[in-house]
């Protein structure tokens, strides 16, 4: 057994409201999240605010987290699966200072997880909410740049262009070349951008017991996948969706079922592979050592 190692916040910021945002902004975001949950995969426009962190660095996720978070929450923030990347550290600090909440690096101890580009390896539960930072919320953007057009396409459920684009890859390359932000269909209706998570993580979204919220600050959109909701990665009968796999195991914990980062270790181009999910790796290493 591991003790609860969540860190209680100290040194909170005076002069700002709880979780930074004013109450009217929070209510606006809260109303948007409720509609987002009621319309799975649909992007709800919201009047995103300037945050004290730059656009593109997680302002959407931060605003959603700020509207959702309460004093009883334990927050985990990851970027690329890691808790100790600089931007994750910076965002975690922001909430420790403005909301005074406890923070943790343990997936299982968090009630609220804000993420950029990964879904944790540990299965999430009904008592958790996953908040994604989203750069481009519109999955059709690369086929049609105009918001006025893509909005109509979603309304009419006109997703042919997306299949055409994926099929062109198969025709030219023999396989679908999209490896991250791989489009999904939510509850059989809206095509949705899962944010730039590797397609390795897509299957985790399907029927996940936890609520998944998505915030795009610069593009001013919020969307959601409710718990226990079908999330299918788009594919074709003759070319079914498949995820990345490695021949190697994690050099630190030996995992063979997690998403691996490739690290260059010498000038001669030597490589090693390690878990991208640092908590997953740490927990596995600890339990291995305990067993020895």
């Amino acid at each position: 057994m591991q003790p609860n190692d969540a860190t209680q916040a100290q040194d909170t910021l005076d002069g700002y409201n709880f979780a930074y945002l004013d109450e009217q902004t929070k209510r606006m975001i809260r109303r948007a999240t409720l509609k987002a949950v009621a319309i799975p995969g649909y992007q709800v426009p919201f009047a995103g605010r300037e945050m004290p962190l730059p656009y593109g660095w997680g302002t959407g996720g931060i605003q959603v987290t700020a509207a959702v978070i309460g004093p009883d929450d334990t927050l985990k923030v990851i970027d690329q699966g890691a808790d100790d990347t600089t931007n994750a550290v910076s965002i975690r600090r922001f909430f420790a200072r403005t909301a005074g909440v406890a923070t943790t690096e343990r997936t299982t101890q968090a009630s609220l997880i804000q993420t950029r580009h990964r879904i944790p390896e540990a299965p999430l539960t009904e008592d958790q909410i996953l908040v994604y930072q989203v750069p481009i919320p519109e999955p059709l953007r690369w086929m049609e740049a105009r918001e006025s057009e893509t909005r109509k396409m979603h309304a009419l459920e006109e997703y042919g262009v997306m299949h055409v684009k994926l099929y062109e890859d198969i025709a030219h390359l023999g396989r679908i070349a999209t490896s991250y932000d791989y489009p999904v269909r939510v509850n059989g209706r809206y095509v949705m951008a899962p944010s730039p998570i590797p397609k390795f993580d897509n299957p985790k979204m399907d029927m996940m017991p936890a609520l998944q919220l998505f915030g795009a600050g610069r593009e001013k959109r919020i969307y959601a996948v409710p718990p226990y909701t079908r999330v299918e990665s788009l594919d074709f009968e003759d070319h079914p969706f498949e995820v990345q796999a490695w021949d190697e195991a994690c050099a630190l914990c030996g995992a063979t079922d997690s998403y691996l980062d490739e690290v260059v270790i010498d000038d001669a181009g030597g490589r090693m592979f390690v878990c991208s999910d640092t908590d997953h790796c740490t927990q596995r290493t600890a339990s291995r050592e305990a067993a020895e």
Binding site: M51, R175, P196, P198, I265
Partner: protein, 367 residues
């Protein structure tokens, strides 16, 4: 050994300390005071207030100092502060005809009621380095004699003079205009956007971006035959109508620059030949921005006026979605955040594609 590029808290703290050190520069040199910035970097302050969307010279000066003179960073600082402020009242429209004028020029009439007032402008300076300014003190320059500002006198706008003759389109609400002006800080931008919303976006938009777009219309990418009908700069009163009083009270003066472009228009099925308008407004003295804004405003009216849409500056969705430098700067620079998870996905994909390619080539060669 495995040493990942993982910063953590110490790296961030150290970076902040280094930044503070660099900002301060050589400690043998006296620190800049906010008053100095406010008084001597006035046009920087004006730009930061305009694009930061907050009229406060002290805060703008602080932002410039904190941002080490990076104006886009200063604009970001001011915006981020602005969103935390409560909304106490909504002002009445400012009446620029009642401006206390410090500069006013018209390119369309040699003389006109109220006259031309050159005012403080770089326009006719020869751009020669003034080495006297490099000397330690330049405050021995002769103080300039200023004309008495004309108080409480209405100076009609050039466009209004044309309006009396019916030669220019009246400024009235059109299809799609809502009764209340839009506010992109409270409602996300939607397309099609009405003119008030477009003007708000342009007013907050990046000066360099608008300048480039405006220039493109002059070079034939959506030419709209502009004349600088009038540019005026000076002080206007800001009034609010408190709920409990029911009448307008003045809460202060602000300096603004206004540009009204007058554009030739051949007429359409719906409208007779007449002049049309493009409008630009900035806080402080922001003539380049106000003129660029007026050109782009007119360009974005192409659809409403039944003109062919052929150029980037006529495309409202393109222009407005990309004009905000706080958004643009953030997203361009976010590319320096780690992307190694996605890059790993790409590595796996490219390797697989290459294997496929090599196999195909080998098969082709064998045949």
């Amino acid at each position: 050994m495995y040493v990942a590029v993982k910063g953590g808290e110490r790296a961030i703290d150290n970076a902040h300390r280094l930044l503070a050190e660099e900002r301060r520069g050589d400690r043998a040199v006296p620190a800049l005071s906010l008053t100095q910035i406010k008084e001597q970097m006035t046009l920087a302050v004006d730009r930061v207030m305009t694009e930061g969307s907050l009229y406060d010279r002290d805060l703008a000066a602080l932002a410039i100092k904190q941002a080490r003179g990076d104006l886009v960073e200063a604009i970001f600082l001011l915006r981020a502060y602005r969103t935390t402020l409560p909304r106490l009242a909504v002002s009445e429209p400012v009446d620029t005809a009642r401006m206390t004028i410090r500069r006013r020029v018209s390119a369309t009439f040699k003389d006109l009621p109220g006259g031309q007032v050159l005012g403080p402008t770089f326009d006719y300076t020869h751009r020669l380095m003034d080495f006297k300014l490099a000397a330690e003190a330049d405050d021995d320059a002769e103080p300039c004699e200023r004309g008495e500002p004309r108080q409480d006198e209405t100076v009609p706008r050039v466009a209004d003079l044309l309006g009396e003759e019916g030669l220019i389109e009246p400024e009235v609400p059109r299809d799609g205009d809502t009764a209340e002006p839009g506010d992109i800080t409270r409602e996300p931008l939607e397309f099609p956007a009405d003119r008030s919303t477009r003007l708000q976006s342009l007013a907050r938009g990046d000066e360099g971006y608008l300048l480039g777009l405006a220039y493109s219309t002059q070079r034939g990418y959506g030419r709209n035959h502009p004349f600088a009908g009038e540019i005026r700069m000076g002080d206007v009163a800001v009034e609010i109508v408190p709920e409990e009083l029911g009448f307008a009270v003045e809460i202060g003066d602000i300096t603004v620059t206004e540009c009204q472009m007058i554009n030739q228009f051949k007429g359409s099925k719906a409208a007779p030949p007449q002049f049309t308008r493009g409008y630009g407004l900035t806080f402080g003295q922001g003539e380049r921005k106000a003129m660029a804004m007026a050109l782009v405003d007119r360009s974005l009216r192409a659809e409403e006026l039944g003109e062919d849409l052929t150029a980037p500056a006529q495309d409202a969705e393109f222009v407005l979605s990309h004009c905000d430098n706080v958004e643009a700067s953030g997203f361009v620079q976010h590319l320096k955040l780690p992307h190694y998870v996605d890059f790993q996905g790409e590595l796996v994909t490219v390797r697989a594609l290459r294997r496929e390619h090599e196999r195909k080539e080998a098969t082709d060669a064998a045949e």
